[in-house]
């Protein structure tokens, strides 16, 4: 097993490549040896054996978008927590105060969403 920064990622790349090869190999072999009979019904969306009605596209509620955005906001916050946790013991109180302000401002947004009752699933 190769060592060092690039060596480790080379190992990762090797396993990723093997994974792709495995999937492509099994699917390709299946395609190669399986019998093919074309029937229109085979290409219908399977819905418990009943013929599907309407299209596969429907407009979703904006609620989902809001939760998606909340996820992004707190994902970014979590990302900043990693370097903060690493340098915390060296920088001490200053870093702590900085993070409290950061999370406090974001918590304001969460509190706003809570007060406006958009977090409730009706």
């Amino acid at each position: 097993m190769p060592k060092g920064y690039f060596g480790e990622y080379l190992t990762l790349a090797f396993f990723a490549g093997m994974m792709l090869l495995l999937v492509a190999g099994t699917l390709g072999l299946n395609k190669l040896v399986s019998p093919k009979v074309h029937r229109d019904e085979k290409y219908l969306t399977y819905e418990c054996g009943v013929d599907p009605v309407g299209g596969g596209w429907s407009q979703t509620q904006i609620r989902y978008y809001l939760f998606g955005l909340l996820f992004v906001v707190f994902d970014v916050e979590a990302v900043f927590l990693f370097p903060w946790a690493v340098v915390f013991d060296k920088l001490g109180t200053a870093a702590f105060v900085e993070m409290v302000i950061f999370i406090g401002i974001l918590a304001l947004g969460l509190a706003y969403a809570w007060r406006k009752k958009v977090l409730e699933w009706l």
Binding site: Y65, L66, G68, V72, P83, A113
Partner: protein
């Protein structure tokens, strides 16, 4: 070795980016965007910016693409229908060319003739020190920007009711 991998990944990114803007199926476009972002993560890894690479995977591939797909699903556009073409191609071309021009000029003027030596991987430690002692104000401004995005989304979501 690094150059070879860089070349392959860069070619893949360009291919995915071209397919992203030419595909007729919006969801396929989102998939190509994912490929572009994953390629960028690999480029970050090549430049020894390990943390940035995994942040790219976490935030962009994990969160931003999800947000984009939800934004897509909010529209009434059926998949694969070109009825959503808003006929603003010339304007879009002007805007994108202007953005390309401005950013490349800035990059050119700032980093022209500079060579960067990658000696050892950028650790989270150096990054943390930089953020929490040198760039404290930009860091706090990030939270204000995120707050603005959150409040904006709440206002939009409320209006519907």
């Amino acid at each position: 070795m690094q150059q070879v991998v860089f070349g392959i990944v860069a070619a893949l990114i360009v291919f995915a980016a071209v397919r992203l803007v030419t595909t007729r199926n919006l969801v396929h476009g989102a998939l190509y965007l994912l490929a572009v972002l994953a390629g960028a993560a690999i480029l970050f890894l090549l430049f020894l910016a390990e943390f940035v690479a995994w942040v790219q995977v976490l935030v962009y591939i994990g969160a931003v693409v999800v947000l984009l797909l939800f934004g897509l699903m909010l529209t009434r556009a059926p998949i694969g229908n070109m009825a959503l073409d808003s006929q603003t191609r010339p304007l879009a071309a002007v805007v994108s060319l202007a953005i390309f021009g401005i950013t490349s000029t800035i990059v050119w003027k700032t980093f022209k003739g500079q060579t960067v030596h990658f000696s050892k991987p950028n650790t989270v430690d150096t990054l943390g020190r930089a953020i929490f002692s040198q760039y404290v104000l930009p860091f706090e401004i990030v939270s204000v920007v995120l707050l603005a995005a959150l409040v904006g989304a709440v206002v939009l979501a409320r209006k519907e009711e």
